[in-house]
């Protein structure tokens, strides 16, 4: 297991890139997810269709296929991004579909009577949404959104390998070959991912249980 101690810098650098990649992708995913959810509940049928198509496409395409399609396709339409940016866009667009569905389903758990009552007492659209619907919906979204964020950390490994971003997974792959000690190196990677995700799992479950309510 010396190989882990000898390459600690590489692991730590990889962890930092994985966290940074996941964080930026999650921000993009929430922005896209918010739009997708808004589209899907919009009064315009065309927007609803667009939202549904977006979700279906990304629920139907394996992440690696999307990453490679992006990698080979975008330069062809004149859009060239550095690998890290590409990975953020790939992960953000992919995860955006999940976030969109999580937001929509969270809003759907708020009984329609809540919105109707809010309108009946004369609240405006943004007041209905901001003061009545979202506060209730957000509590039920903690679990799904946390689960999506953890999946994103795992998925970042796929995007990074596809785009050669030097995250934890990519560096471990390189290290496994260069040191010729794949068992030691990848065991270290396993532990590193556990350190990244297990506290998160615990936190998400605790928060979700703390804030959920029974109707």
């Amino acid at each position: 297991m010396n190989v882990i101690a000898d390459n600690l810098d590489s692991y730590l650098g990889g962890i930092a890139v994985t966290l940074w990649l996941s964080a930026l992708s999650f921000v993009l995913a929430v922005a896209i997810g918010g739009m997708v959810a808004a589209f899907r509940v919009s009064p315009l049928r065309l927007l609803r269709t667009l939202g549904a198509v977006y979700v279906e496409v990304f629920f139907s395409l394996p992440l690696l296929v999307w990453a490679l399609l992006f990698f080979f396709g975008l330069p062809k339409v004149g859009l060239i991004y550095p690998p890290f940016t590409s990975a953020v866009i790939v992960l953000g667009t992919f995860t955006g579909a999940l976030v969109g569905e999580a937001l929509r389903s969270g809003i759907n758990t708020v009984p329609p009577g809540q919105g109707e009552a809010a309108r009946a007492v004369g609240l405006r659209f943004w007041q209905v949404l901001g003061l009545v619907v979202l506060p209730q919906a957000l509590r039920t979204m903690i679990g799904p959104l946390g689960s999506i964020l953890l999946a994103l950390v795992r998925n970042s490994a796929v995007a990074a390998i596809a785009m050669s971003v030097d995250d934890l997974m990519w560096r471990s792959d390189q290290l496994a070959t260069s040191t010729a000690q794949p068992v030691g190196v990848l065991t270290g990677t396993f532990v590193a991912y556990l350190i990244l995700t297990v506290p998160g799992t615990w936190l998400v479950n605790t928060l979700a249980r703390r804030y959920r309510f029974t109707r």
Partner: protein, 295 residues
Amino acid sequence: MTTASFLDPPGPRGRRRQQVATVVTAVAVVAVTVIAVRRLADQGQLDSDRWDIFAQRSVWIFYLRGFARTLQAGAVGGVLSLTLGLGLAFGRLARGRPVRWAATAYIEAFRAVPLVLLMFFAFLGLPRLGLDLGPFWSVVIGLTGYNSAVFAEIFRAGILALPAGQTEAADAIGLRYWQSMRFVVVPQALRAMVPAIASQLVVLLKDTSLGALVSYEELLRRAQITGEFARSPLQALAVAALFFAVVIFGLNHLARRLERHRPTPVATADIPAETLLATGAAGAVGAAAPVQAPG
């Protein structure tokens, strides 16, 4: 699909505005599509010689055989994951502490790491330990390592969601632990979890494409090979992507039709949100209790 209940129904001016917005959106969508297609055409990506490999039957057969391998790895991985997952669920619910701790540790660890890592470990690491199984089994081991942990959590959620009266009644009529599991608990738990199981199987099939990274010649790897060979990587990938999208879209729809109007378990970090969201049980995801259907 309904609009949000908190929107006021539009009046005449609102309807007008909606029509304008529809037209603006339509124009925007068409414009983006046209620009993208024109750029692709300018780069010669739509030229017929980029695509004419797909006029050959042998290329399609190459793809289809690749897809058969996708299904193969998915089927073997699926069966192993379900079996191991059921065992792990029993283990996590067992009364004996060592068994419970071992099962819990496995589940918590293996569902928390990337599936690619498990595949890489099986592909690069296991041969060093004297276990050279080749790409197919590397893919299967990777798929099983992750998905057995997820299935274990799905089964456990199903078993725990069963009203306590069921096991109490089984105890009362004198069934032993395994009899009560076999005849009372598991059949009901499985039935309740069918949508989640089906949807996770689709996720598993999607993840089979990661086999391309460990040189398993499934559909995606074969698309890459075709692309390099014909010097049109984008076209070869696009065809494979369409293939994946159509098949998985269909399977997702089938999985959704299995959805009965039952409360879906709470989506927490235990069961991936993707699994529950894909079942289309959207209204109930994240709810601690069944919610009345709107309208």
